[in-house]
Point group: C2
Chain length 129, copies 2
């Protein structure tokens, strides 16, 4: 059964994930805490632009900031990702069915090719006899 | 390892999922094909408003429309949900670690309570002896 969840938190999480820079920031944080300057590095973006993305991620609860006055490192918070995963998982049977159908189709094509090859061989054998 | 995927398709999928009405539409389609009128029913929304949401879902590849001229039913397409799930799954260890830590903490609290209860009993026993 698919749950009819309409949590506003899920909307905030999905909206935060709907940006490639924000997903790349999360991917960097997956290998450890980073300062804003460190995060900005590979993106060739201004610090204010990165800070804006961090604000969206923080509001969605996807990151937290340290309390150190000088260096306030960002770290990944996975709670909302788990919620998003739980929601998507309720649809798993649909994509698995799709791949089952694809697998059935490929098996059918393969069987047909094998049958054709056998028939051809039999024909050739019949001709050469 | 977390993959550094920045697929634009993922952005379109997450943006489409970032709305409670669109998630509710997908949930309804999980139980079978529906016409636009049937989908609009429970939402107390105008048909144009529902159609707008359906357009977003269709652009994201999350639904497909039938070809019947009169009744063009919508059906769920799970491919993009699988991609979104694959992306989120790369972060699974983070929320599992979080729950492991929580479990450790709860076990520690429980052990402490048991120890305190035993100590209290021993004290009482010592007093009454």
């Amino acid at each position: 059964m698919v749950l009819h969840r309409t949590s506003p938190d899920l909307s905030i999480t999905f909206a935060a994930l709907a940006d490639p820079t924000r997903r790349a920031i999360l991917a960097r944080l997956a290998s450890g805490e980073r300062s804003v300057t460190e995060l900005a590095g590979p993106f060739k973006m201004s610090l204010p632009a990165v800070s804006k993305h961090l604000k969206v991620l923080k509001r969605a609860g996807l990151i937290a900031r340290g309390r150190e006055a000088q260096w306030r490192p960002c770290r990944l918070e996975a709670g909302p990702l788990k919620e998003a995963s739980d929601w998507i998982e309720t649809y798993r049977r649909f994509w698995e069915e799709r791949f089952d159908r694809l697998e059935d189709y490929l098996r059918e094509v393969q069987n047909r090719q094998v049958r054709n090859r056998v028939l051809k061989k039999e024909k050739r054998y019949g001709r050469n006899k």
